[in-house]
Symmetry: C2
Subunit: 353 residues, 2 copies
């Protein structure tokens, strides 16, 4: 089945409003989750409603945070999220980064006492739509092995960077530092299928292709020491600079339902118009895209894709045709709605295709 963007967004916002969020904040959380589904990143979409709702009910998220923004200098600020939901804290932070960039050319915002903030590119998208180059990253509870390590000692530490273009869609790179999402290993274990070499280690720190053994071990960081190094620097920018909790101090998001994490996040905005007329920048971005698109494809490929191009195509398609929902996600949405007293809009569902 599929559902229209606005129907899914307003259902989601209603659920969070019922759970105590102000209407504006509920709308932001809904926009962040539905935005991930629009771009095909199901793992960070409405599939998260049940755990978000559970954490709100247990008081592990502050539904009505008193978010404090402190300017540290002409181009830097700290946002204390007061344990608000990540999307709410993150949106406030990227908006502040843009305000700083507007006045000082560059804005850096460090967020502390934050929470799981969905897809990292939600924030860079918001800035790119307003013409900024932007970076966003967050630390996360340890689930991956740093290079050389045999156990989960660092988070997947998502990182996004985006830049506006002209005739072409904005370029958006949004990646975790793990070689693969843990969700794919869970799926393989459930299907009793092996996983490819290079994805994970077992609990003894040995490479494994056994999905079940991998779940007791650690996912690997991508690209050897390079991806691992990126994970470490995401931890530094997002958490060390914020004075947030780091690595082993972070409770598991699903299994620990008593402790508040105090995640850290980092946001940067660059006002390209300070460097050259915005139109010149956009034209030069188009020139870059076209120079890369002119590359003959490798064997087995049809074309060179830009960072975020597949996601942008999906988004355009889904804004038009609606968002497909699997039977499992649909069931979980109905249940979450029932628990919150917000009926799922059955009339809005349509068959796919």
């Amino acid at each position: 089945m599929r559902i229209g963007l606005e129907d899914l967004r307003s259902f989601t916002a209603d659920v969070f409003a019922t759970l105590g969020l102000a209407a504006e904040d509920a709308g932001i959380v809904a926009d962040c989750l539905v935005g991930a589904d629009l771009r095909g990143v199901y793992s960070h979409g409405v599939i998260r409603i049940p755990i978000y709702a559970e954490r709100l009910r247990r008081g592990l998220f502050n539904a009505t945070p008193n978010i404090e923004v402190t300017r540290l200098s002409a181009s830097a600020a700290r946002v204390d999220g007061d344990n608000g939901m990540g999307a709410v804290v993150g949106t406030r932070a990227i908006d502040e980064a843009m305000a700083l960039a507007q006045s000082a050319g560059i804005g850096v915002v460090s967020a502390v006492h934050s929470n799981h903030y969905g897809i990292a590119s939600y924030y860079t998208q918001r800035a790119v739509e307003r013409g900024y180059i932007a970076i966003s990253c967050s630390n996360a509870p340890p689930t991956t092995a740093p290079f050389g390590g045999g156990a989960p000692f660092i988070g997947t530490n998502p990182f996004a960077i985006a830049a506006p273009a002209g005739a072409h869609p904005a370029l958006v790179l949004d990646m975790s530092s793990s070689v693969v999402a843990r969700g794919k290993i869970i799926a393989a274990a459930q299907a009793n299928e092996p996983i490819p070499e290079g994805w994970a280690l077992d609990k003894h720190g040995r490479p494994t292709t056994d999905a079940a053994a991998a779940l007791e071990g650690a996912v690997l960081t991508f690209g050897g020491p390079k991806g691992s190094g990126i994970a470490v620097f995401v931890e530094i920018l997002a958490a060390v600079l914020a004075g947030a909790n780091i690595t082993h101090q972070l409770p598991d998001f699903y299994r620990n339902l008593t402790d508040v994490p105090n995640l850290g996040q980092f946001f940067l905005a660059i006002d390209v118009a300070r460097f050259m007329p915005a139109e010149s920048f956009r034209a030069k971005m188009d020139e870059l895209v076209e120079s890369l698109k002119a590359c003959p494809p490798a064997a087995g490929h049809d074309e060179v894709l830009m960072p975020g191009e597949i996601e942008a195509r999906l988004e355009a398609e889904r804004v038009r045709d609606g968002i497909p929902l699997s039977a499992e996600i649909l069931a979980s949405l109905r249940e979450a709605g029932a628990q919150a007293g917000v009926p799922f809009p059955e009339e809005a569902l349509q068959p796919v295709g």
Copy 2:
């Protein structure tokens, strides 16, 4: 044979001074090249003296550039390198980024009309020694294939990020976006040895393990679409934002001895003291290092290494014991010295070990 740091540095500086650089600039270029050898990055060390000298003689580098620094806002500046040597332009740029960070908390500097600037971490090291978090990156002539592409359409686009620690050495990540240095493929071809799968494509865009075929094709970017995306964003930050030449507009550094490249570079400095007392930051960095070091090693590894840890160890060793020079590099230094009229300091050589 090995040679003391100061002897190698003063020989190198003398060569560049003889080729027309001011004493201070010659010292910077020498420091950058010898600094790479100190850290074990031979590919960016004194091995570059002959090509640097050749390009100076042909007027392809401006030995006495009139470098122009323009402040664009409270936290941003542009540096026009006037086709000066990359190390000279880059040093000026990172110094300006630090000056901006000193006054505004954050400094971003975009450099245009620059040249090959050696190891990207030379600039972040300079900033880290003064207590800043720093980023530096540069575009480069196309030698690698973007993800999905079958030909060299983007540069190795080096990227460095560094942060100071307390009791532990600073963390320094310095990486290219290619899976391997082209130099390793050249060495394999010369030795008539195969290269591992996943390193390169042949001229038809097909994966190859034949080193000679790889040299006619393209090196792959690391980590699939992630490493490729990083290469694209280095191109954006370093070159698009600077208004420098991009990708296909860049002449090959060795084979094109008539055109000036107009490379772009990007520098960022963050004054951590704006976010928290510098001592707290350093203590928290140490805590992060120790939390990662506590990770049990994976099978086949002895320990979890921090980004830049191997290089820092080598540097300490070589500052003490001198820098080993291969017979080939030594021969090329003697020749470069003879050509410039600067005798190589034979008396400074000592046997290794």
